[in-house]
Symmetry: C2
Subunit: 548 residues, 2 copies
């Protein structure tokens, strides 16, 4: 990298509270990272870990040197893309890595990739990457957008945002920089990123022509794409579905075209009265992306920017074109995912997934929220988490986060964390709803800890142990309160958790501790009780003795 911006101390390192970094060996060549949560009862739970070496207490972090080239030997051995390999029946090391992370067989991964229902965004020029998979058969993933703009932010801040976002669970990041130093910012991010990095190349291309969309050309765009492929960008948003004839369909919308990429291309098309060069040169673009195994993220440049515009003709016309482009990309052996909205009321969400699956051969859907209402700027992480959870339940494979600053400003470090945690919630809620294997393990472990008043374990098992502990300590800071059999909500006398622990003890003492016993014995015992005026249960002093 051309300049030295940093020392190891400029990004956040060290394990998350209550956890350590572990690696699970899979075969000879694969070590899959997990966050191991250590519980006070001697048990532990391993959870999916996106944070790279930064949370490894034993790792040496040197931003100037970048991360180790984990994938170097795998890349050297292979020609073609993950899609080519999967179709040829080859299970790549990346596929085995993803399989180990997801707890599925490598063959499951291969089949999903071969069918185009899943992608492994992994540019040959990004050897630092810890491979991951995006597809509806796997855990729902989340993306965090970072990047500077003409108005704010520095390179060092953006690198820290990447480390910070992945620390809290971002599965991929997108560098959406639009200001100065786009190339250099991206270089620092890529060399230090353990997760796939996505970009929107049109932003940098536009920068090269002084910000005038009409001055864009295919050649400038193509060279920008190649430049970014060479750097190691893993997936690229391409708004190739914004066709000239669709643009007037947006004229009567409440919010027109809200995608930056979409509006840039619309401006170009109108000014030149020509079809988008992204569309007319799409085959050539496929050839370039194929060479590096860069994944298409076909952008929804005409996505609705308001509830009023959801599921309209402009949006679905573009989606049909994205379906056509999906087939072309796949015919070139290029992996594809499809971007989705935006702003959509709840009753119109599922239609988006069904149509995307139908038109785009079930290519992984990658949606921005959607926001379920327009009326809560400053809370759009929440308005969109509602839509995100629902659309993921319906089959969306990756969710692009929204931060509290959406529509108002650029996110700072705190906003990035809030956005990531909020989207981990939405993704996990969807995994539960899809009854994804192992998803409920963490809920059960946390709830068991909660019921048993193991406060330290509750914190450690939560998505954000630091904030959970901080909130608890605001009311009851003393260390004994973390082992006390009550909490600040009810105080010592009322605690319902305590009382129901006593119920359990009572049931055990009376042989009512199994479903069988309850089903076999309780119904008649209960009716006996009701008939006889209540002589089934003996008094249990312990029910209240600890509550006084």
């Amino acid at each position: 990298m051309s300049t030295t911006i940093s020392t190891a101390t400029s990004v956040t390192t060290g394990p998350i509270q209550g956890s350590t970094k572990q690696y699970l060996q899979s075969g000879d060549d694969i070590r899959v990272p997990v966050r191991r949560v250590h519980l006070t009862n001697g048990e532990h739970l391993d959870v999916y870990d996106t944070s790279g070496p930064y949370t490894d207490a034993d790792a040496t972090i040197d931003l100037d040197a970048g991360l180790p080239h984990l994938r170097a030997p795998w890349i050297a051995d292979r020609a073609g893309t993950q899609l080519d390999a999967a179709r040829a029946g080859t299970v790549t090391p990346e596929m085995r890595y993803c399989a180990a992370r997801e707890g599925v067989s490598p063959e499951t991964v291969r089949v999903e990739v071969a069918a185009g229902r899943a992608v492994i965004p992994a540019n040959r020029c990004h050897p630092e990457l810890e491979p991951m998979i995006i597809g509806k058969a796997f855990a729902v993933k989340i993306n965090a957008n970072i990047g500077n703009s003409a108005v704010t932010s520095s390179i060092a801040e953006e690198v820290e945002k990447m480390v910070w976002a992945t620390r809290w669970g971002a599965d991929t990041i997108m560098d959406l920089s639009t200001g100065k130093n786009i190339h250099e910012t991206r270089e620092w991010i890529l060399r230090n990123s353990p997760v796939p990095v996505g970009t929107v190349p049109i932003y940098q291309a536009l920068e090269k022509v002084g910000g005038d969309p009409t001055a864009l050309t295919w050649e400038i765009y193509r060279d920008t794409v190649i430049e970014q492929c060479e750097q190691g960008v893993d997936y690229m948003t391409v708004h190739a579905g914004v066709l000239l004839r669709y643009i007037p369909l947006t004229a009567r919308r409440v919010t027109g075209i809200v995608s930056r990429g979409g509006s840039i291309m619309a401006a170009w098309c109108l000014a030149h009265h020509r079809e988008s060069f992204l569309y007319t040169h799409f085959d050539e673009l496929c050839e370039i992306l194929h060479r590096y195994d860069v994944t298409f993220s076909l952008g929804d440049g005409l996505r609705p920017g308001s509830i009023a515009d959801a599921n309209d003709e402009a949006q679905f016309a573009e989606l049909r074109t994205l379906g056509e482009l999906t087939k072309i990309a796949k015919s070139h052996g290029v992996q594809v995912m499809i971007e989705g909205p935006g702003h959509v009321p709840m009753h119109k969400i599922v239609e988006n997934v069904r149509l995307e699956e139908e038109l785009c051969e079930e290519a992984p859907f990658y949606t921005l929220g959607p926001l379920a209402t327009d009326i809560a700027p400053a809370y759009d992480h929440i308005t969109s988490a509602i839509g995100a959870a629902m659309i993921a339940q319906a089959g969306t494979a990756m969710l692009c986060y929204v931060t509290p600053k959406e529509h108002l400003g650029l996110p700072n470090r705190d906003d990035v964390k809030t956005g990531v945690i909020t989207y981990k919630i939405a993704a996990h809620a969807a995994d539960l709803a899809k009854q994804h294997p192992r998803a409920q393990e963490r809920d059960d472990a946390l709830s068991k800890a909660r019921f048993e008043f193991r406060w330290h374990d509750q914190f450690a098992l939560s998505l954000d142990p630091d904030t959970a502990r901080e909130f608890h300590d605001e009311t009851l800071p003393a260390e004994p309160a973390k082992t006390a059999h009550f909490c600040s909500m009810c105080g010592p006398k009322f605690c319902s958790m305590r009382i129901s622990a006593d119920v359990r003890e009572y049931a055990q003492q009376h042989g009512l501790d199994s479903i069988e016993a309850i089903e076999a014995g309780m119904a008649e015992k209960s009716s006996e009780f009701v008939d006889a005026g209540g002589r089934v249960y003996l008094p249990v002093e312990s029910v209240t003795s600890e509550n006084r």
Copy 2:
């Protein structure tokens, strides 16, 4: 009130930024409050207003005197409950008031109340109340829990929390105080509350017996209920469905019994080996509540406290009993709503509503969230907003908020606001999804303002204008930025909103500004264009002139 705790300055008063309080006259005797949002384009939008006189710049607030007795003449004229009146074909002033607030006919209100599908919680002894209606045919409502505990909080704080919660949109509040001064705290809240106040009388009854559940008696409970009825409590949570025979069904749960009321009654039942006095004395309870027109909120004492326990036999057994009790209450002319969970994964949410409607004759469902996952303490306003939006879309009439402090501590003033705004989002998202009349007006107005760069109007139309403005100003504080045709996300050159405004102008200039024109003309013009290599659109200088 026995002591003077306050002056007018101890609670938050004055209009919300960008709005004023207005009253819409309806008939001779009804003045319905609205929050009128004033827009910079000369238009205005009236939105539902729960905040009482506190946001009226012309009102004199005197907490010691309490609010004016708005309902006094209406109460004097009536015997019986709203349910009695509705069944008799009488439209009460309260019904007309609710109708005006909801924008429906008074007859619609009467029919829904008569059928038991809606309730108007309005104790005869709470004349300060501005009536509101809870039912699935109306806008989804939200409740905010306040109240001190043995550990924290003072009376003055709780009164301010009530004012604060209703300022931001709480439709009802529940006083869940469990510590000292329960009666006095409630008195201050009631005399100053413009919204219905709910309680859980068992908490105060338990306080009277020194916190020992086994020492509770029907008589102590009954006297507590009468005391609270006399004070003006509008609805009461009664856990009369926690039957002795259901208790062992919770023994194998991950989190047993998590409801405080439920666990208190379980402890009592087990200790005395007798059926719950709430169940055995339910008829007598109905007679008391009928006298004051207090609404039952039949509590779900066995609600699931974790994902693992959702929709289990204990939960649904209790729900069946609540159905039985609903019929009894209605036979006494008492209004009823039914409380619901809790912690429920998304795929199990709808079943809760369907079963409640089937078993409880569509009595208004009033749910706590539900939380869609257990793994995010400190973010449970969000985990639960996901579930809340979905369950409200399915027909839940009122949502009990959850704050970020849930499971960790008692909410402070900021937490109350966050909880309320989050739940306004969930409720509004559901109103949109149910295509509730007028719901989308506010989204459209805000999105139109956003598209036209009317920043002040965006703030004013949002659920929380203060925070929206604050976030915007963090990046672009100068006043000119609020009228600038760009924002901090893209900067002046890239603005997609600006570009799409230009698209609209282009379409208008070329006669493509109507759906008809687009449909009639564009298809062929577009294919002409495609066929001919692009000569349909003329260059439009204005597309980019303002973007440079």
